[in-house]
C-alpha cells in the first residue's frame, strides 16, 4: 500500500459521506471508493456507526410543553413580552466572567477592610507612643500650670492616653524650671534640696523642618526670636545653591522655660513640614554625679587636713599631694560634666531646618541639552534599577507571607474548583 493507492484521506471519505465535499472532490472520492476495498470498508464502518446511532430514538414531546410554549407565543404576539429570569443574582448561573468579577470584588473589599481596620486598630498605640515625645502645647501649659510640679511621677511608663502623657511631661518641664533656681543659690557646690532632688530633670530636644516663602525675612525673624528668648545658635549653616532652594540648618539652644513660646514663634515662620520632640530624663544621672562630687570633695578636704595637721616623711607628704591632685582632677571633671548636664536641661536643643519654597527663575542658566538628556537618562536608569530592586526586596520580604496566605486561601478554592470541574465533566 502507498500514497498512490490511497489518494484520499480517511477524513475526506467521512466528509464525502456527510456531503461536505465540493463536487470535483466528491467525484474523486467516489471513484476511489469504487476501486479500493479498504476505503470502502472504512466507509462501511462510518455508515454502520451512523446507522447504529439512528436507532437512538427519542419519545415524542409531551403536550404540556406545546401548551406552555403556544401560550407564551400568544402572549408575545399580543405584545406582552415575558420577563427574563434574573440570572445575575443566582451564582449557579454565573459564568467565568461573573465569577472573576465577584471574586475580584470580594478580594478588593477584603484588602480595603484589612487596610482600614489596621489603620483603626494601630492608630491609638502610635498616638500614645508619639505623645511621649511630644512637647507641651500651649493648651497643656494652661492646664498644667494649676498643678503642683511634683504630684505626678515623672517617667511615663506603658501606654498612656495622649492627654495624660502630655500633662506628665509638662510637669517635668515645670520641674526643670525650678532646678536652676535651687542650683543658683548653692555657689560652686550646691547640694540639691529634697524638693529639687525629687524634681525630674529633662533634657529636651526638638527637631523642626520649616518651609518658608521669604527666606531672608525668615532669617531675620529667627535672629530676633533667639534674642527675645535669650537663646543662641550653637551652630548654623546656610546654603545657597544654584537652581535650588536656599536652605538653613541650625542647632539652637533655647532656655527651657522659653521653649514653648519660642517654638510657637518659630512655627509662624512658614509651613511646618516635619516636627519631632523628645525629652531625656537625666535626674538619676545628675543625682549620681552630685553624690560622687560630694564624696570627692570630702576626700579632698580630709587629705588637705592630713597634709596640714600631720608631719611625716617627705615621701608620705608627696604621696598625699599626689592623691590631692588626682582627686582635684576628678572633681573638676565631674563639675564640668555637671555643668554640661545642667546646661542641657536648662537649654533645650532645637534642630531647625529652614528651606525656601523654590521658585524656578526664568533667567537661571540651565545646562546644555546634551547634559540634561544624559542626566535624565542616567536618572531613568537609576529609577528603573531602584524599581526592580524594590520589587525584589518586596518579594523577599513579603513573598513568604504571601505564599502562606496563598496556600491558606488557595487550597480550599482549588479543591472547590476541582470538584466543580469534575461535576461538570460528569454531566
Amino acid at each position: 500500500m502507498n500514497t498512490a493507492a490511497h489518494p484520499v484521506a480517511p477524513e475526506e471519505i467521512m466528509a464525502f459521506l456527510d456531503g461536505e465535499l465540493a463536487p470535483t472532490e466528491a467525484q474523486a472520492v467516489a471513484g476511489h471508493l469504487g476501486r479500493c476495498a479498504e476505503c470502502a470498508g472504512l466507509a462501511g464502518k462510518l455508515r454502520a456507526t451512523s446507522g447504529w446511532l439512528a436507532q437512538w430514538a427519542v419519545p415524542p414531546v409531551p403536550s404540556s410543553v406545546e401548551e406552555a410554549v403556544m401560550r407564551q407565543a400568544a402572549q408575545v404576539a399580543a405584545g406582552h413580552i415575558p420577563a427574563r429570569p434574573r440570572s445575575f443574582f443566582n451564582p449557579s448561573m454565573w459564568g467565568w466572567k461573573q465569577w472573576a468579577l465577584g471574586g475580584g470584588g470580594v478580594m478588593a473589599a477584603a484588602v480595603i477592610l484589612l487596610v482600614v481596620s489596621s489603620a483603626i486598630f494601630f492608630r491609638p498605640v502610635r498616638q500614645a507612643e508619639m505623645a511621649q515625645q511630644v512637647a507641651p502645647s500651649p493648651e497643656a501649659e494652661g492646664y498644667g500650670s494649676t498643678r503642683q510640679p511634683n504630684d505626678q511621677p515623672a517617667v511615663v511608663k506603658g501606654k498612656l492616653a495622649a492627654g495624660s502623657a502630655a500633662v506628665t511631661q509638662f510637669d517635668s518641664l515645670q520641674a526643670a524650671r525650678y532646678l536652676p533656681e535651687t542650683r543658683a543659690g548653692g555657689g560652686g557646690a550646691p547640694l540639691p534640696t529634697p524638693q529639687a532632688a525629687a524634681a525630674p530633670m529633662i533634657a529636651r530636644t526638638v527637631s523642626l523642618t520649616i518651609v518658608v516663602k521669604d527666606f531672608a525675612a525668615a532669617r531675620a525673624s529667627l535672629d530676633s526670636i533667639l534674642l527675645r528668648h535669650r537663646g543662641y545658635a550653637a551652630q548654623l549653616t546656610a546654603a545657597t545653591q544654584e537652581n535650588a532652594p536656599r536652605s538653613l540648618q541650625a542647632s539652637l539652644r533655647i532656655p527651657a522655660p522659653e521653649l514653648a513660646a519660642a517654638l510657637a514663634e518659630l512655627k509662624t515662620l512658614g509651613r511646618v513640614q516635619n516636627e519631632s520632640q523628645s525629652g531625656e530624663e537625666v535626674t538619676q544621672q545628675h543625682t549620681d554625679l552630685v553624690a560622687r562630687l560630694q564624696n570627692s570633695r570630702e576626700t579632698e578636704e580630709r587629705l588637705r587636713a592630713i597634709l596640714e595637721q600631720r608631719t611625716g616623711k617627705i615621701e608620705d607628704v608627696l604621696q598625699v599631694e599626689e592623691e590631692i591632685a588626682r582627686v582635684r582632677g576628678e572633681i573638676e571633671q565631674m563639675e564640668a560634666e555637671q555643668q554640661a548636664l545642667e546646661h542641657r536641661v536648662e537649654f533645650a536643643s532645637v534642630d531647625l531646618q529652614l528651606t525656601e519654597e523654590y521658585k524656578a527663575e526664568l533667567n537661571s542658566p540651565s545646562g546644555s541639552v546634551w547634559n540634561r538628556l544624559r542626566n535624565a537618562f542616567v536618572a531613568g536608569l537609576r529609577n528603573a534599577a531602584e524599581t526592580i530592586l524594590g520589587i525584589v526586596l518586596f518579594l523577599e520580604e513579603d513573598g513568604p507571607v504571601l505564599l502562606i496566605w496563598l496556600a491558606i486561601l488557595g487550597l480550599p478554592v482549588f479543591l472547590l474548583v476541582r470538584r466543580y470541574r469534575r461535576m461538570r465533566a460528569r454531566l
Binding site: 502507498n2 500514497t3 493507492a5 490511497h6 480517511p10 477524513e11 467521512m14 466528509a15 459521506l17 456527510d18 456531503g19 465535499l21 465540493a22 470535483t24 472532490e25 479498504e38 472504512l42 464502518k45 462510518l46 455508515r47 454502520a48 456507526t49 451512523s50 446507522g51 447504529w52 446511532l53 439512528a54 436507532q55 437512538w56 430514538a57 427519542v58 419519545p59 415524542p60 414531546v61 409531551p62 410543553v65 406545546e66 410554549v69 403556544m70 407564551q72 407565543a73 400568544a74 408575545v76 404576539a77 399580543a78 413580552i81 415575558p82 443566582n90 451564582p91 449557579s92 448561573m93 454565573w94 459564568g95 472547590l416 470538584r419 466543580y420 461535576m423 465533566a425 460528569r426 454531566l427
Partner: protein, 228 residues
C-alpha cells in the same frame, strides 16, 4: 479543503443534505430537515420574521417543525427526561422573548440550536454548582428509570464514554444534522478541528458499539494514516 465547501447559504431550503445512513431515522431531526417545503410552505426564516413582525400564527408551524428535534437535542444530552422537557420549553421561551430582536443573519435552525446550547450550558453549570457547593447529587448520564429500550441505554452509555467535545460534535452532526461549518460556528472551533474530532468520535464509537472485533477501528485508522 474548506475553501472547496459550498458557500454558506442563509436559507434552510437550500440546505438539502443527504445522510450517510440508509437506516430509517427516528421522528426528529432528519425527517424535519429533509422534508421539502411545499410551494405554499414558508421557510423557517420567513416564518420567524413574520412572527417577529407581529403575525401571531407564524410561530405555530415553526414550533411544530422543531419541537421534536429540540426535545431530542436535550433528551440525548440530559439524562432526566423531565429536565429535557423543561429545557426544551425554556429554549422556545427564550426565542419568543427575543423574537422582536430577531434578525435573519443565520439559519433559524442554527440560531435555535445556539440558544439551546446556551441554555444547556447554563443548566450544566447550575447542576455542577449545586453538586459542588450545596452537595446535591448531580444527575448522572445513566439512563433514567423507565427508558426501557436497551438500545437507548447502550447508545447513551457508549456516547457518554466519548470525550466531551467529541461527543458534542458527533451529536450535532448525527442528530441535529448541522454542517461542519455550523458546528464550528456553534462550538467556536476551527473547521478542521470539527472534522478531525468528528472522525475520531465516529471511530471510537464504532469500537464501542461493535462487538469485540479482531481489530478496533481506531487502530485501523492509525494504520490507515501510516500508509498516507
Amino acid at each position: 479543503m474548506q475553501d472547496a465547501l459550498p458557500a454558506f447559504v442563509l436559507h434552510s431550503e437550500a440546505k438539502r443534505r443527504f445522510t450517510m445512513s440508509d437506516a430509517p431515522r427516528d421522528s426528529d431531526a432528519s425527517r424535519s430537515q429533509t422534508r421539502p417545503f411545499g410551494d405554499n410552505e414558508q421557510s423557517d426564516e420567513q416564518l420567524m420574521t413574520a412572527f417577529s413582525r407581529g403575525q401571531a400564527d407564524a410561530f405555530s408551524p415553526l414550533f411544530l417543525r422543531y419541537k421534536q428535534p429540540l426535545f431530542g437535542f436535550f433528551h440525548r444530552r440530559v439524562a432526566d427526561p423531565a429536565q429535557a422537557e423543561e429545557l426544551t420549553q425554556e429554549t422556545f421561551l427564550a426565542v419568543l422573548r427575543a423574537a422582536a430582536r430577531y434578525r435573519q443573519s443565520a439559519l433559524f435552525r442554527t440560531y435555535l440550536y445556539a440558544v439551546g446550547f446556551k441554555i444547556l450550558r447554563a443548566y450544566r453549570r447550575k447542576a455542577a454548582f449545586r453538586a459542588t457547593f450545596l452537595g446535591e447529587q448531580p444527575p448522572g448520564r445513566e439512563p433514567a428509570i423507565g427508558s426501557a429500550i436497551e438500545t437507548q441505554a447502550l447508545m447513551r452509555e457508549a456516547v457518554g464514554k466519548l470525550e466531551g467535545l467529541d461527543r458534542e460534535v458527533l451529536l450535532l452532526r448525527e442528530f441535529e444534522q448541522l454542517s461542519y461549518a455550523e458546528i464550528a460556528g456553534l462550538l467556536g472551533l476551527p473547521l478542521n478541528t470539527v472534522r478531525s474530532r468528528l472522525f475520531r468520535a465516529r471511530m471510537a464509537l464504532h469500537d464501542l458499539l461493535a462487538a469485540p472485533a479482531s481489530r478496533p477501528a481506531a487502530q485501523e485508522f492509525a494504520h490507515f494514516k501510516e500508509r498516507l
